[in-house]
Symmetry: C2
Subunit: 259 residues, 2 copies
Amino acid sequence: MVNIVKIGGNVIDNPEKLRSFLGEFSKIKGPKILVHGGGKIATKMAKDLGIETKMVEGRRITDEDMRDVVTMVYGGLVNKQIVARLQANNCNAIGLTGADGKSILAQKRPVKNIDYGFVGDILEVNAPFIKLLLDAEIVPVFAPLTFDMNGDMLNTNADTQASAVATGLSSFFPTNLVYCFEKKGVLSNLEDDDSVIDELNPTNYESFKSQGVIYEGMIPKLDNAFAALRSGVSQVTICHADELQMALETGNAGTKITL
Amino acid sequence: MVNIVKIGGNVIDNPEKLRSFLGEFSKIKGPKILVHGGGKIATKMAKDLGIETKMVEGRRITDEDMRDVVTMVYGGLVNKQIVARLQANNCNAIGLTGADGKSILAQKRPVKNIDYGFVGDILEVNAPFIKLLLDAEIVPVFAPLTFDMNGDMLNTNADTQASAVATGLSSFFPTNLVYCFEKKGVLSNLEDDDSVIDELNPTNYESFKSQGVIYEGMIPKLDNAFAALRSGVSQVTICHADELQMALETGNAGTKITL
């Protein structure tokens, strides 16, 4: 079983939480992959550099300047800090963007109503290359960046990237996709941090959605999760960054997504 | 034969020259490695971010803020732009710092008279890992960054790094180390760009130095070159970035360093 773990921006932005999470991640036995989000450092860096964050109809646009900022912050600063910390934990990590080893090929999102700029829609995951690293006991750490064959780096959603990597690898290995974030799982009551839904299947998911219990940002994440299961991923779990080990070892933490 | 090519900051800083050089590099047949310098983008970025470039006795100091800038600029922006461009040239590149795959372990330079800050002195090159990539026809592209086992990224001299990688690999392969820069080779007259010294050996090197023909920045580069030859590297060449192919194919370009 290969564990593909996604860690979100809120944890990335907090050095103590990040360090603690990376400690947990380092303890996972067997082949594993980390996919990290971006966090707010890029937005702050862009502001400090006088680069305006462009929004159209409430959606963020990645223009060329912003693409260079995310390439440097996600692919350089955040990714290498994580890799160096994992190495200090005796976890032999390698930092990757989609361009490295042609690991995740994407295309610049086609312009329909909105031109999102340098945003990548994933076309293909190079599973044999990732397998080569895993077989050598190396731990891939993906920044949320892909590339196209025109020589452009592309900003990419980390949830989607984690799900694509898990799906791509599932032809070689059974795969377990784990989304770690700042909540204990999918909650049935956002006011109550302990109201974790143990298991979500398509039936109760529809019912929670129609009741308005699950909404907004959680919906694309869960749609991604169900899509991954339907495309060959063996297991999907959503849990707190601090409970990663518990979720993996005992299965008694977070929300399990099932078909 | 593995070609280990170092490209300097002057070429990195000029997008057109860089693109042309990467075209040349992509055409090299067989296993190859690129080591790139930093260029002036990091200094400009630091200035834009209000980070002061600290100097002590004329030497640049890498404090924590500057280390983060070089990690992001060299390891993120520059490295990934090069990798994406090489991929567009059908050259399957992978961007690496020393931390990635534990490829180049260093130690923070010990403080004697000057505390250089987060600067790495190379301890060990992980040649089996680099060999794994080369055997899979992947082209490592190193940013001038290493790491220590305390979780710190370290700024590192690209000439030294290229020489260490070539030396480390020479137990597995015959290696050819090529330093590319903006001159046609080592010149006997700095006023005349065509006064290339065809071959430098320890005897004429000493004589050129004592005549003052070779001086300043060229001396550590050449000392590095001779040291590499003494440690098992098969060939060292210094040539113009535009003449890389010619130097490799015909041997009729640049300066050959011999023992």
